[in-house]
């Protein structure tokens, strides 16, 4: 059978690779492009499917309340971006370019918010600055009262800064970590002052990361649903509008129009990011020498203060949320108990559902991402096919979670759809999560694969070994650290995400992050905080386990990949 097959298909290697790429491209087509098309169609048709042009948008812009939310979204996002990117740059600069101590500690703290759902920051702010908040009441009368208008723009900005800060920090620290010290030495020998060097060498070296960070923070805030839901009060923004239009009023057409508006900054950001990625390469060469940090007491002192302050805020936010979840009846009975955690660990409970979804997403997502990244990067499949597959793989980067959830409702909640069957099951949530976090995983995987010798495939081909054997025996073992990293990324994000799946979950299979929104809606703040705490704990545990494993494997792989020179 095997030899017979080989006779009719002499080039079975390439043929089988092409077949898989075609299958996966079709899958991506159904998971991304077609639903997106549905959104555009909905936005320009009426309920009966007649073409009405830009009527919905005209309606939208003639409704003062709705225009107001657009304005609010822009204002809140701009302020958040300025604060988050400034803090992120300062923090990243402190960790990469100053000589402060315990950098590992500051780094871990800065990344802590990534492990929490974005509602947690809002909940913690309620515990601090709400009507009965710790700070508002001056620690229940111990100190003078400090009252401010939390519910509204101030609260949203505070919560969003906490939410976007780690992203800005991460992007900028990568850029600041990779500098060519020879340029600093050259500038110094030419007599430039520290200030001039900063503006002529440091900032240009990070400008692409800076632009990307600005856009990412803006888009994250612009499309975030969690924070405005919890601390937004009567202050309407685009994301909450969308939720109200679709879930509250079942006005799908107007929802589609709002979805298109949400998409605009995301698409611009996507394009800019692609351009800067292309330009960024070539800044560093193999001969670059790493940055050398010199001692400077004043600088280190200032950065020490900055890092400590930011870290203190992040830690106290998370501690307050945990404390709130443990207090029996805030603020009247401050005794500690686990009552709010009851029935969360039920087999049918949201927390278990979330774990299930996150594990399934991580498992399926990682396998699919690896296979696809491998075939696009390493196979000799058809070039046009690989390019279109690559483009489709980048597309989810331009899709905010809220829009993704929306287009999935449009696309899959249609009885004439052959895939209608998965609507209302756990599978659509898993599919949505995979697509939502696919692009970043894909890029991580691709850059991991790029580090492997590009001749492995050619070598095994010339020895007449089928591609999948080399894949399993060589490429997978060598990529294990990256594979684990991607698995972790899928898992953590599936645990904390709410924006996409809020439209999609089945009532009997409610994920934990959605449960937080519902609890908060009905006033059970403590239970919402308890659920958030559980998510953080679960994420940290899984992360510790996987990083421990990945670290061990990484050490082994690194030893294998050393290039010996004689």
């Amino acid at each position: 059978m095997d030899t017979w097959l080989k006779r009719i298909r002499p080039d079975a290697n390439q043929w089988s690779q092409n077949a898989i790429i075609v299958c996966m491209t079709i899958a991506l087509l159904f998971a991304i492009l077609l639903p997106l098309g549905e959104l555009v169609i909905k936005a320009v048709t009426d309920q009966d499917g007649n073409f009405i042009g830009l009527m919905h948008f005209a309606n939208y812009f003639s409704t003062p309340a709705l225009v107001m939310s657009l304005w609010n979204s822009i204002k809140v996002s701009t302020v958040t971006t300025i604060i988050a990117v400034t803090l992120g740059f300062g923090f990243a600069y402190a960790l990469e370019r100053s000589a402060i101590r315990s950098k590992w500690f500051y780094r871990s703290v800065a990344l802590l918010p990534l492990f929490a759902p974005s509602m947690l920051h809002g909940l913690a702010l309620t515990y601090l600055f709400g009507n009965q908040g710790l700070i508002s009441t001056g620690f229940f009368g111990l100190l003078p009262e400090f009252r401010m208008e939390l519910y509204g723009p101030i609260g949203i900005v505070m919560a969003e800064v906490l939410y976007t800060f780690p992203q800005a920090f991460l992007m900028l620290s990568v850029a600041l970590a990779s500098a060519d010290y020879r340029m600093y030495e050259a500038a110094e020998t030419l007599g430039a002052s520290k200030w001039r060097i900063f503006w002529t060498v440091t900032v240009p070296g990070t400008r692409f990361a800076l632009i990307s960070a600005i856009f990412v923070c803006f888009v994250l805030t612009f499309t975030d649903f969690g924070a405005p839901k919890v601390v937004g009060g009567q202050y309407n923004v685009l994301a909450t509008d969308l939720y109200k239009q679709v879930i509250g009023q079942q006005n799908m057409q107007m929802g589609a129009a709002v979805g298109v508006l949400l998409l605009i900054p995301a698409v611009i950001s996507f394009v800019i990011d692609r351009i800067s990625q292309r330009k960024q390469s070539g800044w560093l060469s193999a001969k670059s020498t790493p940055y050398r940090i010199e001692r400077n007491k004043l600088r280190d002192g200032l950065f020490y203060v900055l890092c400590s302050a930011v870290s203190a805020v992040i830690i106290s936010i998370i501690l307050v949320a945990i404390y709130g979840s443990l207090v029996k009846v805030w603020p009247y009975n401050l005794s500690i108990s686990f009552t709010h955690y009851e029935d969360f660990l039920d087999e049918e409970g949201p927390f278990v559902t979330s774990l299930l979804i996150a594990f399934a997403t991580a498992l399926i997502g990682t396998v699919a991402t690896f296979l696809f990244a491998y075939l696009i990067e390493k196979s000799r499949g058809h070039r046009l096919l690989r390019q279109s597959a690559y483009f489709l793989s980048m597309l989810p980067l331009a899709l905010p979670g809220l829009v993704l959830g929306l287009i999935y409702v449009f696309f899959f909640n249609n009885p004439n759809q052959p895939l209608h069957g998965i609507y209302g099951t756990i599978w659509i949530v898993i599919l949505c999560n995979i697509v939502h976090f696919y692009s970043v995983s894909f890029l991580t995987m691709t850059s991991g694969l790029k580090k492997l010798d590009s001749e492995f495939e050619a070598a095994s081909e010339s020895m007449n070994v089928p591609w999948y054997r080399t894949l399993l025996r060589v490429t997978v073992p060598l990529s294990l650290p990256t594979i684990l990293e991607v698995f972790l990324y899928y898992f953590i994000n599936s645990m904390v995400t709410v924006s996409a799946i809020i439209f999609l979950y089945a009532p009997d299979l409610k994920p934990a992050a959605v449960a937080i929104v519902n609890k908060e809606d009905s006033g059970d703040i403590a239970q919402a905080a308890a659920m958030s705490t559980l998510i953080i704990v679960a994420n940290l545990l899984v992360r510790t386990a996987i990083m421990w494993m990945a670290g061990k494997i990484q050490k082994r792989t690194d030893a294998l990949l050393v290039r010996t020179k004689e």
Partner: protein, 343 residues
């Protein structure tokens, strides 16, 4: 030797707008050792990859022993290939790497025997259980060679096999590859940009430039009778001078070791002014600027190699006048001067 064992007929390849190969005609005899020599970007690696089946030619055919293999995929050609980076699988041991291509062809016991044989052949028996990172560059190179030879290929393809090694190891492995070729007799095609490597190793050299084959011949032919100025300049050192007969456009060329330096005060032969003088251990290298009949400087330069022991009887200093002759039997004439070296 059986002529035309492996024939390349009219091969061409383009990558987008860039022409990588054109008009490639080549007949290779069985058991021959061929070097593809040329500057980087001349298409030699592309040609090797087309032979291996890793790249598809746009036109033309590849025939081995009368069988057309142009559209046969790499795995079916039974060609062993050694890559520039060696492409050893870093997570597999030396034995596992060597056994990698044998699994589909032999039984377990046969594979074990074959691996043993190859390990012995490249003298890596005691390293069999090490992974590539634990080996030196030269040892890695030998593993790669053993892996490519393990399944007794009809043809061995080597892509700049020695370029990653330092000079001493390189010379040693050069002999080793020659020895293996002698022992196995497999037809071998090696890509290199190192002329010395090509001259010492090849039965025949294929000189390539700008996507074409310029000359095919034994090392001696290519060195002594280069077809074009490019070949002359690319292989070995050479000086070009214009013919002194004004009616001719021809270019004359001569290798530095063939120029005869004359004793002081000689008025015969050519005159020149010493512009550079270098001591090179075994010999001195002089670069002299030619002086014309009327005593004018011609802005043409001749390189002259003089053995170190012979220098004792000459007095050569910078900016001094010297006399030399160009023995006619060593002067190479080029009528077409368009194609000068770029590499």
């Amino acid at each position: 030797m059986e002529q035309g064992y492996l024939s390349l007929c009219n091969l061409a390849k383009r990558f987008g707008k860039h022409t990588a190969l054109q008009d490639i005609q080549l007949d290779i005899a069985k058991n021959e050792f061929i070097c593809l020599l040329g500057p980087s970007g001349c298409g030699k690696t592309t040609l090797l990859r087309i032979l291996a089946g890793l790249e598809k030619a746009d036109q033309g055919s590849v025939v081995i022993a009368g069988k057309d293999i142009t559209s046969l995929p790499a795995g079916k050609r039974n060609f062993g290939m050694m890559f520039q980076s060696y492409a050893l699988f870093p997570n597999l041991t030396v034995s596992e790497n060597i056994a990698y291509g044998l699994r589909n062809r032999f039984s377990k016991a046969q594979i074990a025997d074959r691996v043993e044989e190859m390990l012995h052949l490249v003298e890596l028996g005691e390293h069999r259980n090490k992974v590539p990172a634990q080996l030196s560059g030269g040892q890695q190179q030998r593993v790669a060679l053993a892996r490519a030879l393990a399944f007794s290929p009809d043809c061995l393809l080597l892509d700049e096999p020695l370029s990653a090694l330092d000079a001493k190891v390189r010379a040693k492995l050069r002999n080793e590859i020659r020895r293996l070729h002698h022992q196995f007799g497999m037809t071998t095609i090696m890509v290199t940009h190192d002329q010395e490597e090509a001259l010492t190793m090849a039965d025949r050299i294929v000189v390539m430039n700008q996507s074409r084959i310029i000359q095919v011949g034994t090392p001696k032919e290519v060195y002594e009778r280069p077809k074009t100025p490019f070949v002359a300049d690319f292989i070995g050192a050479i000086s070009f001078i214009q013919s002194d007969k004004h009616s001719e456009q021809a270019m004359l060329a001569i290798r530095p070791e063939h120029v005869q330096l004359l004793r002081d005060g000689h008025e015969k032969g050519r005159q020149g002014i010493v512009r550079e003088l270098e001591y090179r251990g075994t010999h001195y290298r002089i670069v002299a600027e030619l002086i014309g009949r009327q005593g004018t400087l011609l802005q043409q330069f001749v390189t002259i190699d003089v053995p170190a022991h012979a220098m004792v009887s000459h007095h050569v200093w910078p900016d001094q006048k010297i006399a030399f002759t160009l023995p006619p039997e060593h002067v190479i004439r080029f009528d077409d001067t368009a194609d000068l070296a770029v590499g």
